[in-house]
């Protein structure tokens, strides 16, 4: 393998889409598939595909597959680098941070002993190791957060190509196996906070005990600031990840519970037939009242009471009369009234419409027709709020108008 970092980075830039694709999929690619990928990601390239593979292998961007000399894959470390560049990190194993924190604890003890022994070289050496361990913890935390963010975005944009069940399992694992243990480490009162406090205490003790040393105060200050930075960033990364994952986790968990319920119901339907839906029917009752119930009945009672009062007027004419020629009395046919009302359409005031439409008929017939229409299930009646009055030849009626419309 050639060790020319500049040329390696140039090649990585030139073939970034191809390398990124292979790193993302993580599988070895044979020569024929490589030709397709080469054509897809760099169609104008003059370099033959087999030569390209050799070149990338020469500069460490490819390695031969374990099972074939004519298949290549992106080395793990290159894949990690490419994912870092495109901020598409993979999730770290849940327990990866714990050993680093443990190492910080060991180094803290080593530093304490070096301070007690006032061994300056050992203090310098240990503090450098501490700085590396703290940077590793910080980097792991940041990369883990980016990986979580990447997965959340893939889910939100449906690029993860998972079914709801698969998505639920994934986000549950993310929540319970990554975030929960991470929270135990980095959250307030967790292992990281305790170890950080110990390290800060040792660094301060070193500064206080060797206050006149030209280097120790600076080394101690650097350790304290590194610890604080690592602690703050890890805490922030964890809570940012939590803010991203928790609502999504809850939504997917809710969706999954619903889908599970429905699957169970559909399976029951397959086995038991429509009887399986009985429980649904009982819980999904729908109101289907005709408006001839409460409102119209109250209104009609009011009107009938009014008629009763008018009937006691001494000057009132007989209800039915015959004309001089002995012809049939005026009788308002309920069927004809209903047909006429349907033809005229919705009326804001049923009584006024009847009186105006059938002006030649006596009040008794008008009121009977009113009763018939209001009780007729073909029509929907609704009482108005404002009291109205209307005069006929025989009487003045004060009433709440009834709006009437066809149910058809």
């Amino acid at each position: 393998m050639s060790t020319n970092p500049i040329r390696t980075l140039q090649l990585a830039a030139e073939y970034f889409p191809l390398l990124s694709y292979m790193a993302e999929h993580g599988e070895s690619v044979g020569l024929s598939d490589m030709r397709s990928l080469h054509q897809k990601h760099k169609p104008d390239d003059l370099r033959p595909t087999d030569r390209l593979a050799e070149l990338l292998e020469e500069f460490g961007l490819f390695e031969k597959s374990a099972d074939s000399d004519l298949a290549w894959e992106v080395p793990h470390i290159v894949g990690e680098f490419l994912r870092h560049l495109s901020m598409r990190q993979r999730l770290a194993a849940p327990g990866l941070l714990a050993p680093i924190i443990e190492e910080v604890a060991l180094l803290t003890e080593e530093l304490r002993q070096a301070v007690v022994a006032t061994d300056l070289d050992r203090i310098r050496n240990t503090s450098a190791n501490i700085k590396q361990a703290l940077d590793a913890a910080r980097s792991l935390s940041r990369e883990n957060y980016r990986a979580i963010l990447h997965e959340v975005m893939r889910i939100k944009s449906r690029q993860d190509n998972r079914t709801l069940r698969e998505r639920f399992l994934f986000i549950s694992q993310l929540h319970e196996r990554h975030l929960a243990p991470l929270g135990g480490l980095v959250d307030v009162g967790g292992e990281m906070e305790r170890r950080a406090a110990e390290l800060i205490a040792v660094a301060r003790a070193a500064r206080d005990s060797m206050v006149n040393d030209p280097f120790i105060p600076a080394i101690a200050a650097k350790i304290v600031s590194s610890v604080r930075r690592m602690k703050d960033e890890a805490w922030e990364d964890f809570h940012s990840a939590l803010r991203e994952v928790t609502p999504l986790f809850r939504q997917i968990r809710r969706d999954h519970a619903l889908a599970t319920s429905i699957s169970i119901l559909l399976e029951s339907l397959r086995r038991q037939g429509v009887k399986a839906l009985d429980g649904i029917i009982d819980r999904l009752q729908i109101a289907r009242w005709r408006a001839d119930n409460v409102f119209s009945r109250f209104a009609i009672e009011d009107y009938l009471a009014g008629v009763e009062q008018h009937a006691h007027r001494p000057e009132q004419d007989p209800i039915l009369t015959t004309d001089d020629q002995g012809s049939a009395p005026f009788v308002l046919d309920a069927i004809e009234v209903a047909a006429q009302l349907e033809a005229d359409g919705e009326q804001p005031d049923l009584l006024r419409w009847l009186i105006e439409r059938y002006a030649d008929f006596p009040d008794q017939q008008i009121l009977q027709a009113f009763h018939g229409v209001a009780e007729n299930p073909v029509f929907a009646a609704a009482p108005g709020e404002v009291r109205e009055f209307i005069d006929t030849v025989d009487a003045r009626y004060t009433y709440h108008p009834i709006r009437i419309s066809s149910n058809a």
Binding site: R158, D160, N161, R162, T163, L164, R165, E166, R167, Q251, R254, D255, H256, A257, L258, A259, T260, S261, I262, S263, I264, L265, L266, E267, S268, L269, R270, G273, V274, L277, G279, I280, I281, D282, R283, L284, Q285, I286, A287, R288, W289, R290, A291, N293, V294, F295, A380, A382, P383, G384, E385, R387, R403, S405, N407
Partner: protein, 182 residues
């Protein structure tokens, strides 16, 4: 004179024919939202139970007398769509929150399994599906968009709730157990 809430006649007419009112219904929903307790009290005195669901809709508690078959069709239509969304990896939450569905791309008649379910409620073709969507529109569970698509309205949560509650009763153990087809 009584201080009656406004739009009373319009609101009563809609509720009494089974409609669920949500923000989609404009003025009459706004009127309800302004004085929900007054309406509940008033209708209660008249013998009607007005239910206010916190997810943004109102309806009259009713009965299933005479319309049980229709309700079965509505419920099954929604459940099949959700089952298909789950298998396709689509968000059910988004679907219930008003995502548009093209009627001619619905999955209900596209698989033997779904056709088998629908046969139990005598729905066998696209006309049957169109009838269901129209009924859902009338009841306020969905809105037809006029471009061959429809979307669910908040009252559809009643249909979803009914499934969960029904399963809680019939499957007393954890409903999140492994399903066969999810």
């Amino acid at each position: 004179m009584l201080d009656l809430p406004c739009k009373l006649d319009d609101i009563f007419r809609e509720f009494s024919r089974g409609r669920h009112l949500s923000a989609q219904d404009g003025d009459i929903y706004i009127a309800l939202e302004q004085r929900p307790d007054d309406y509940i009290l008033l209708f209660g005195r008249l013998g009607f139970e007005l239910v206010h669901d916190a997810r943004g809709f109102y309806y009259f508690a009713g009965s299933n007398r005479g319309i049980a078959g229709g309700i079965q069709r509505l419920a099954l239509f929604v459940y099949i769509l959700i089952d298909w969304l789950a298998d396709s990896g689509e968000s059910i939450t988004e679907a219930l929150a008003g995502k548009a569905f093209a009627v001619d791309a619905l999955p209900h008649l596209a698989s033997d399994r779904y056709r088998g379910y629908l046969a139990h409620v005598d729905v066998e073709n696209a006309d049957g599906l169109a009838d269901i969507i129209r009924t859902m529109d009338n009841f306020g569970f969905a809105k037809q968009m006029g471009d061959g698509s429809f979307r669910f309205l908040p009252p559809v949560h009643r249909i979803v709730d009914a499934c969960i509650a029904s399963n809680r009763e019939t499957v007393p153990t954890d409903v999140t157990q492994e399903p066969e087809s999810c």
